[in-house]
Amino acid sequence: MEYKAFQKIFYKVNRINKATCVLQSHMASYDEMAVVHGRLAQVVKIIGNNVTLQVFSGTDGIPTNAEVMFTGNPPLLKVSTELAGRFFNAYGKPIDGGPEVEGENRPLGGPTVNPTQRKRPSELIPTGIAGIDLNNTIVTGQKIPFFADPEQPYNQVMADVALRAKADRIILGGIGLTHDDYLFYKNVFENAGALDRIVSFINTTEDPSIERLLIPDMALTAAEYFAIDRNEKVLVLLTDVALYCDALSIVSNNMDQISSKDNMPASLYSDLARLYEKAVQFPQGGSITIIAVTTLSGGDITHAIPDNTGYITEGQLFLRRDSEIGKTIVDPFRSLSRLKQLVIGKKTREDHPQVMNAAVRLYSDAANARTKQENGFDLSDYDKRCLRYAKEYSEKLLAIDVNIDIDKMLDTSWELFGRYFKKEEVSIKEELMNKYWNDKS
């Protein structure tokens, strides 16, 4: 972001909070950027002559006689193909030692795509991970987060997905990324020879937390440029959106807003929807797919952050450690891809929907059997078969290190059905049964 100060300079700052300051002016326009004491800030409230500015890098050291300039512009990003392969901070400034990007200025947080100009998503994104492709198939134009406890290897999984996704462009929005994870992404992309396909906007834990508020908008503004102007298939990775929400709550508390559940602003739903709804499939072929990470605290998905997220996104992918096989799996129970029905059985083999459902149902029978076992009851023969099935299902299909194609996932499922169950226990449409049932295994 580069701004020419063209407006009057003000000195008198009345009130200073952790994230905001209030000054007297009758010139400010809503949402515009300002420079306070050399720091970028944004107008978030105007009451008469009192203008509240949100200072992105924090207010520490700002004096009451600070120099303030209004830029007359909303936050901007310069877009062009020069963005490719580059790393930027939250303001869109290069952090990779390279030159500034030349291009057209685009405002962040632009208007909404007319819903009638959208196309229904229908292109499958294969990831090789059966927990995703088989049970929770994702498609271009979808928005879906990983819900994961902080210790889960979500960044690795995201990087795998990104590289296998065959996107034209990958845009990484690092929101409060640890420096190590930042380097991890950099290395993975570099080693895969994919660096020129990637644009990164990074705010690490070392950077001020309010700056994070700019990252998703930066990433999505760049994404809209590539998807619309250049007709590309764009994949946006946002990690970790929970930290974005924390920054929102700091600002809203600083502005004395009444917070709703879990100290989050009452507008959290709208704030998140504004970002996630940028995911889109255009009829011309360009698309924006958003894969995000929302870390949970103590696995609690009723917390306002995952709860609002789940109401907005098109499903969620739960990562959980399966202690029996000692691996992280994509939990088939709470995970969901709402767009899977647009492709499964249509773009994939006809038996996909029924096989997927049957496999999960049997896995859930195994969970019941395990409860029985833990309560000290005898297990029936069916229970025992379920448990053996569940272990193998988990290992061969749910584990995140699986990397096979979808036909192989379906064949594996039939193989497990045939090995552990009778036909009626699997209960699938007869015509499919006749065609695929496999009891040789």
Partner: protein
């Protein structure tokens, strides 16, 4: 509009979409204004007045707005335009026709006409010169897709008028004068096919509102069979995210017996609108054989559209519904999700720094919801015809907690309650309607009971009650088995549990994505309920509990195949034979 001296004001403050304005002119609550920002005129609604300070919710982004910006008050409340040509349209919350925008993005300040000025309609008069008429009386009709769209005396006309002249049958545009009315004061009115009405004000030009008495068929078994919705009734579907609210609403939008379906997407995903407008033009109304889109109106205020218009969107839907009801039509509104509307109220109330109620929602939330639901209903019109609005909304309880304010307030207002259970959704038992928590008050109405007697069967209610009891008992047996272990309970507990599972799998569960299973006509529902109840009345001989589950799984499997097969086809009958064979293996008669 008559040119009066314009009323103006100036912006004095901006917090997100709340704008404060100072004005010396008289301004009314809920009056509409335009805020000038550069070249653009942004639409706003007055929501609070304190002396000369006017609080306005702006329906568009306030980016770039400044203190001192000029504001122009219109003297009118938020109104929509009513007339032929609304069916098949996709509107935003303020009734702009979204297809008329040619840009990819919805630019700020952009609005478009709700109706098509140039379309010709074949008008047939229903009234004649000399007739005495009043607001909402039918002057004539045009055929809008398959719907007889009555041209009404505008709702705003007050008092009785005589028809001085009315045009002959023929082709007319919406703006053409089709009748001239005159009253006893010689006051003349030229009537065309368009009228306007403020969305927050109920349209009440009917002679009587009756208790609902007829079932509204949805083709969804768990609803029609166990928890029926009534024509002119109200219901709501609360459920955590991912439990199937939207899929259920889409199924009902496709299958319900209604003349007009209004689908209000209120603060939800844009792709769900895309689903509707991609599918509906390809699908057929199972009752009329016409394209589904022909009877559908979509109101799209998706979650990334301006928050203030979210509240307006549900009122827009209701007002359009009331307009079609006044023509003697059967209208169904599906609103997804009413929680987003309540949240929009909350955002605004917080910015106004009003005293917050529970969970920071406005104090009057319950009253606002109750008033809104009360606009639905089955009515008799002045001419003796009847029309109805059935309203079914979803609620998105935060954290999945049904004790939160929006769910509680809606429970007081709506008569059917379809609780979606996380547990059932996790088990992929879709639709995840919890059969024991959910209820339909209409089932208790004597008029509804006699309707069911007459239209389905004399034993229907008895059978439905039986099925419900079996489900509740099945749940108790399941709990007992879980506590005491498979071996710790009598064999009969297993049998009872599995008999309930048969009802669960065959009646409750329904695959919304299977061409045959998705929609079950009432005749077929009657047949299936009868069949599963017969099975639960039978006695079987079992040696062990393992045998019980194995056996019932086979029964469920065949019954499921039945659900997937064309009703009474050869295949259906052969599956039926297979079922009889399995039954006879263990049945003791």
């Amino acid at each position: 509009m008559i040119a009066t001296a314009t009323k103006t004001g100036k912006v004095t403050g901006i917090i997100a979409n709340l704008v404060t304005i100072a004005s010396q002119d008289p301004v009314a609550q809920n009056e509409i204004c335009y805020i000038h920002v550069g070249e653009e005129r942004l639409l706003g609604e007055v929501i609070k007045i304190v002396h000369h300070d006017i609080f306005v919710q702006c329906f568009e982004s306030t980016r770039g707005m400044k203190v001192g910006n000029m504001v122009e008050f219109t003297g009118e409340m938020l109104e929509i335009t009513l007339g032929p040509g609304m069916l098949s349209k996709i509107y935003d919350g303020l009734q702009s026709d979204l297809k008329k925008f040619d840009s990819l993005f919805i630019e700020r300040g952009q609005h478009s006409a709700a109706l098509d000025a140039e379309s010709l309609w074949h008008f047939k008069p229903l009234a004649k010169k000399g007739d005495i008429v009043q607001a909402s009386d039918w002057l004539g009709e045009v055929l809008e897709n398959a719907v007889k769209h009555r041209i009404l005396v505008p709702f705003k006309v007050s008092g009785k008028f005589i028809i001085e002249s009315i045009v002959e049958e023929g082709e007319y545009r919406i703006d053409d004068v089709i009748a001239v009315l005159v009253n006893s004061d010689s006051h003349k009115l030229e009537i065309n096919m368009v009228q306007k009405w403020p969305i927050k004000r109920p349209i009440k030009f009917y002679s009587e509102k009756m208790r609902p008495f007829a079932m509204l068929e949805t083709g969804v078994r768990v609803i029609d069979t166990l928890i029926p919705l009534a024509e002119g009734g109200t219901g709501f579907i609360p459920g955590p995210f991912g439990t199937g609210k939207t899929v259920l609403q889409h199924a009902i939008a496709k299958q319900a017996t209604a003349d007009v379906i209004i689908y209000a997407a209120c603060g939800e995903r844009a792709n769900e609108i895309v689903d509707v407008f991609t599918e509906f033009p390809e699908l057929y109304d199972p009752h009329t054989g016409r394209k589904l889109m022909e009877r559908t109106i979509i109101i799209a205020n998706t979650s990334n559209m301006p928050v203030a218009a979210r509240e307006a969107s549900v009122y827009t839907a209701m007002t359009i519904a009331e307009y079609y009801r006044s023509m003697g039509l059967k209208v169904l509104i599906l609103a997804d999700s009413t929680s987003r509307w309540a949240q929009a109220l909350r955002e605004m109330s917080n910015r106004l720094e009003e005293l917050p109620g529970p969970d920071a929602f406005p104090m009057d939330l319950t009253a606002v919801i109750a008033n809104f639901y009360a606009r639905a209903g089955y009515v008799t019109l002045h001419n003796g015809e009847s029309g109805s609005i059935t309203f079914l909304g979803t609620v998105s309880p935060s954290g999945g907690n049904l004790k939160e304010p929006v769910t509680e307030a809606t429970k007081k207002a709506a008569r059917c309650f379809y609780a979606l259970s996380q547990r059932r959704a996790d088990q992929k038992r879709y639709p995840a309607v919890d059969p024991t928590e959910s209820y339909s008050k209409y089932l208790e109405y004597p008029e509804m009971q006699s309707y069911l007697h007459e239209h389905i069967s004399t034993r229907w209610i008895q059978q439905v009650t039986k099925a419900r009891d079996l489900l509740i008992r099945g749940r108790e047996f399941r709990d007992q088995i879980n506590i005491l272990g498979d071996d710790g309970v009598p064999l009969d507990y297993h049998v009872q549990f599995w008999k309930a599972e048969v009802i669960d799998f065959i009646i409750l569960q329904q695959d919304a994505f299977d061409a045959v299973d998705a929609m079950t006509p009432i005749e077929r529902q009657r047949y299936m309920l009868e069949l599963v109840l017969q099975i639960s009345n039978m006695d079987f001989k079992f040696g062990s509990f393992e045998e019980v589950s194995g056996y019932f799984k086979r029964i469920i499997n065949v019954l499921k195949q039945l659900n997937y097969t064309e009703f009474k086809s050869d295949e259906f009958e052969s599956k039926n034979k297979e079922l009889k064979k399995i039954i006879n293996e263990k049945r003791i008669s």
